[in-house]
Subunit: 398 residues, 2 copies
């Protein structure tokens, strides 16, 4: 359980297999974001058909609605959402630090105001770990102190050192919860729709905890965070956080290049909150295995489709009577079924089916990019393929 095998490499780029309680994840892989226990606008079946192997849930949002107690009572996040493949929950750190309004950071934790009803709430490393345990994803994330992309050395250092101290507390709490876990019945398969779930154990499925490397855009801090994180290991996976938060792309690439050669090859690396299609290829080339980002569904809802030649506005008048598929190279449900003219019509008449169909395409687009990168890594053609893919995409006007 929680094993990671390297299946092949091409330079820094890696193809691997991560084994989790709810199944394997072949990497590199894009992880769609299910903020409210739903990949916005999509059913679990829709997401399965995109080939997504793992999805992410947001602890902050799920703590507020419906609350971890409800999800635990419903049998955990998997049965609640009917998603039977692996899941990861973030820790709530990123959301809490992004909140407008009242927010007080102390060594103990963060006091914040719910964006739903204004009530005061506190998240600590222990609470974030407990909540995630109750949600019951395969992977929980440590509660971290995220700073903005342009944070000073002092501010980034403060957040990074606190993240390390909080990591000790998350780890201790996670070990305590895992120690209490009973070994009761866990085998029997229960069908639900077209998915199958093992009966849940109390309090949850086996779960692993991943740490997050912080340190802003400052190399010395990133290396210190890396060192402090590894000292507290071993880990079944390591995340790089605090990137794609306002810093230039070149800086993000530099930080990744700084870290991945120093990370244990046998540990999967997860680049949090990234990204757009080119970001995936740039990250994979630098040794990243796992990605998540809301851009696929957010763009889909706004009628922006990703194509191999760049972005396309589905509302565009030129699509009006086009019988062509949205992306002729794509094998998703949308592209193999619906003509462009119909997709445009759905946006014009404001039917929600349009949002869903373009979101499905965009998610499949990133999932497929991971799949193809994996194939190219394994057959030794990754560099050439990636260079030509990026050239074609940017030539489209990106």
């Amino acid at each position: 359980m929680f094993d990671f095998t390297l299946d092949g490499t091409a330079g820094l780029a890696r193809a691997g297999t991560l084994t989790l309680p709810h199944g394997p994840v072949r990497t590199p892989a894009f992880m769609p974001v299910g903020t409210h226990a739903v990949v916005r606008g999509l059913s679990a079946g829709d997401v399965r058909r995109t080939g997504a192997q793992i999805i992410l849930g947001n602890t902050y949002h799920l703590h507020l609605r419906p609350g971890e107690a409800v999800i635990q009572a419903m049998g955990g996040l998997h049965r609640f959402t009917t998603w039977d493949r692996p899941m990861l929950t973030d820790s709530g750190g990123f959301q809490v630090f992004s909140l407008e309004g009242l927010r007080r950071i102390e060594e103990h934790g963060v006091e914040f105001q719910s964006h739903i009803d204004g009530t005061l709430r506190t998240l600590t490393p222990e609470r974030a770990t407990e909540i995630q345990w109750q949600l019951g994803a395969d992977i929980a994330m440590a509660f971290d102190h995220v700073v903005p992309g342009q944070a000073s050395f002092a501010a980034a250092c403060d957040g990074m050192e606190r993240t390390l101290r909080w990591l000790d507390r998350c780890k201790a709490k996670h070990e305590e919860l895992a120690g209490r876990m009973e070994s009761g019945e866990d085998g029997k398969a229960v069908p639900q729709g077209d998915a199958t779930f093992p009966l849940p154990r109390f309090p949850a499925y086996p779960q692993t905890l991943w740490p997050i490397i912080q340190g802003g855009i400052h190399d010395a801090l990133r290396l210190r965070s890396l060192e402090g994180t590894l000292e507290r290991g071993p880990w079944t996976g390591i995340a790089i956080g605090g990137l794609s938060v306002g810093e230039p792309k070149s800086v993000m690439h530099r930080v990744i290049e700084l870290l991945t050669p120093a990370l244990p090859p046998s540990t999967p690396r997860y680049l949090m909150g990234v990204g757009f299609p080119p970001d995936l290829l740039e990250g994979i080339a630098r040794g990243i295995d796992l990605f998540d980002c809301v851009a696929a569904t957010r763009n889909g809802r706004h009628g922006t489709a990703w194509l191999p030649t760049g972005r396309l506005n589905v509302r565009g008048a030129t699509l009006k009577d086009s019988t062509a598929p949205l992306d002729p190279t794509c094998d998703c449900e949308t592209c193999t079924t619906y003509p462009r003219g119909y997709l445009r019509h759905l946006f014009v008449v404001e039917d929600i089916l349009g949002l869903r169909l373009v979101s499905i395409h965009n998610v499949r687009f990133l999932v497929r990019l991971g799949e193809e990168a994996r194939t190219r890594i394994l057959d030794g053609t990754f560099d050439d393929w990636s260079r030509s893919w990026l050239g074609r995409y940017y030539a489209g006007g990106e």
Copy 2:
């Protein structure tokens, strides 16, 4: 083609098979409404999985957006929407007569203002017939003059007589279009997604025209409309319009009872714009074969689910941590997959997946009601079953 066979009867209730260019329709049957060439919020696959055999498109809305020329250029309404089963288009009459604002009725036709851009448009019997021909549904409806449910004898008489005169013009135009139809290639099957389409002929697939009986709530006018309609036949189907437009249910039932015994048994009867679950059973008991109504999807979008025991508000707090299916007796995708607690959560966080899942259930609920009525008619238990079904539904507080 356009054949109707009676498979069995139980009193006035009938089970039949209507054969159309895109396949058979086993009756009694509920027809979901696809106003804008989409059953609101649902993909063609979603609708197919509800077991719906035929859907309705609104000529008024499709004329405005995207326009019949676009749909014809895209290969007709079937290929545009990827719906490969039978389709019916209404004539636009009901919509035009329901419009607020400018609307001028003359013998020639109706001048009205588009609710989208305010432009002045004219619909005549000939235009409505031509537009429907270009849309290419299996069944086109005659352009009718609809009056409100409480219309006076004089007003209802005027609308009814005009509907008969317009029927002559619709029929003449439809025969002219059909006469021009070429017999070119029409066999080759073209796969598109998980559906299959015959290559379209110019200008469309074979299409039939159905007349609409009007006359408001006045028995003498209804009988005169019936007589005038039959004189102009034969028809492959006959609709009853102008009901469920504000008159009491008992009046609607009386009008149906007046008409169906006088209609040819070998002709399918379509009750337009009806209805809610009990309306289907009441109509079937009185000899109706086909129904359409937006209530299934409209209720679904508002979080109201139909159950055998009446309506359920999916937002209700008691559903919060319920692992039960929405309707334990239902075989739809929603009820066999998602727990009630998750459906409620989707409405609370306002994810569009919730609207879709409850709409799917409600459509399946009506489709299944038609299927079960058919079984009960064929095995001779319709009356008892219907009585007990209605008793349980009304006992739920309806």
